[in-house]
């Protein structure tokens, strides 16, 4: 009986202590909010239209696009004080053919003012070798190489009269091993805007992905000499182009 009373006393004390803590916590623990991410696919200044749209590179080569898919992963938001939020299980497969994939929502983001955005174009090396995955990383999505296993980070297919052979463009960018690692981590500028996460708001970051930038940048691509790459050193050239400015933040909505 004595023991029971003691236990009860302890429990009461703990209850009091715990309530005190939670009262404080309500003030100091930031509430969580959500962030919408929307991506527009462009070719230069015009929207990408599969199959029927015809476009011209800066060197004057014409091309069309029939497939444009890519992974955008490991999204991180950073505040001015350096604290960072990383979206858990952050793998997004965006497809031009499927509008639903071009916007997604980050949930449970701690409230605060974020001044920087970082993400990977592709899939981190760990997930390339982690075994059977599901969701965006399901190999059934057609973005996984089976003979030399690993993810295709960007798949662009189309045609160009300048391309050799059958005039096809096949740009399958992937690979995570040196020297042909094509994983690229980018932090496009927010142009001075802040992403203000609050409990009762859903701000939105509007990104623009410019297909043309795959073929310009540090390694201008000439379709007559490079129209087909599936990993390897030629894919590295395209990945470097992508990293050099394929993604930009168009605007941030406070909402």
């Amino acid at each position: 009986m004595k023991f029971r009373l003691f236990t009860l006393a302890c429990l009461s004390f703990l209850t009091v202590a715990f309530s005190a803590c939670t009262d404080d916590a309500d003030v100091t623990t930031p509430a969580a909010g959500t962030l919408d991410v929307e991506v527009d696919h462009l070719v230069g200044n015009v929207p990408l239209v599969l199959n029927t749209g015809t476009y011209t590179t800066s060197s004057g080569q014409q091309f069309t696009v029939s497939t444009f898919n890519y992974y955008l992963s490991n999204i991180k938001l950073r505040k001015a004080d350096g604290t960072e939020y990383a979206e858990p299980e952050s793998y997004h497969l965006l497809k031009q053919s499927d509008a639903v994939t071009k916007s997604f929502t980050l949930t449970n983001v701690p409230a605060g003012d974020y001044t920087a955005l970082t993400f990977t174009i592709g899939v981190d090396s760990a997930r390339n070798v982690s075994g059977a995955q599901t969701g965006a990383l399901d190999p059934a999505n057609g973005m996984f190489w089976t003979w030399n296993s690993g993810y295709i980070y960007t798949k662009l297919e189309g045609s160009s009269p300048q391309a050799g052979g059958n005039k096809q463009l096949l740009f399958h960018i992937g690979g995570f091993k040196k020297p042909n690692n094509t994983i690229r981590i980018v932090s496009p500028s927010l142009n001075g805007a802040t992403i203000q996460i609050r409990k009762d708001r859903t701000p939105a970051v509007h990104l623009a992905a410019d297909v043309l930038k795959m073929f310009t940048g540090p390694n201008p691509i000439d379709f007559s000499t490079l129209s087909n790459t599936m990993g390897g050193s030629n894919s590295v050239k395209v990945a470097d182009n992508q990293a050099a400015g394929m993604f930009r933040v168009d605007h941030v909505h406070a909402n």
Binding site: G131, A132, D138, F144, T146, G150
Partner: protein
Amino acid sequence: MFRNLTVRLALAGLAGLLAGGCTTDADVAPDWEVPGTQVPANFPAPVYATSQNPPTREAFELGRTLFYDPRLSRTGDISCGSCHQQFVAFAHQDHRVSHGVDNLLGTRNAPALQNLRWRSEFLWDGGAKNLETMPLAPITNPVEMDETLENILYKLNADAGYQQRFAQVYGRKPIDSQQLLKALAQFTAAFTSSHSRYDQYSRHEAGGELSAGELRGLTLLRQKCGSCHAGELFTDETYRNNGLDRSFAADSGRAHITGRPQDVGRFKVPSLRNVALTPPYMHDGRFQTLRQVLDHYADGMLESATLDAQFRQAGTRPGISLSENEKADLMAFLQTLTDTEFIQDKRLAEAR
């Protein structure tokens, strides 16, 4: 259902009797253990740990059904088991190279499947990098099973029996590729071959006595072959050019994956376990007997730019110096790596 229960009760009873002698609480003995889950005492730690895909009888049995199901191929007549036959340690008897749909032939010899949990790279060139995603290579290869994941999932989801079994294991619908690949890995991860006479010798178990010739062969193997066929798994998991050809236009081997000129003609060093059961030998199945293999190493080797340094000898042609007596001792030892228990384990056979 009743029959299944009876079998289980009988097995539990048997396990109880067996365990009764050495434990006081026979009730906790499992009624049926998924094969290959214990790490043999003489083996290193596995790469693919059981925690990644915890073995259960239901998932294992599902993987077993899938492994032997020809519907995983486009034409419905080639299963994983077609090219990986248990009685020859899951290699393919009498076939130099893989034999796929529409009688198409591949370019490489179907390797033995064993101790896969200890491997981080698969195939002769190491292109597959996880036990779970490995089956995607043969499934989608146009000269092997030539099927798509999408179509296999369609077939599985249209089958009431599979629907029920997958739901029982994974608790969600529909059947997706992760479930398929995890179930297959439940079965292939179970291929632990660790009961050869050599293993008994290595673990100082009863029945592990080796003859004088076999012991001489073991010493020779460690001396002359052990830098590649290293350790208890008898492979160091590297890729090497063992002097089969002067050029490798037909199959560049590891270079197919890395694109590096120094990897041309390099292929995975295979394990020697069950080697007496698994002719033909080499990545293209060119040798029919172990004798031919040893003769190649002794004096059949061809020079090329990427020939492995292990085979270079000062002032003479490349190879490993082996006398006739040494070859005989080596062949005697290699027989001790045959694991009869493994190739006769009914739990790994096609369910009748």
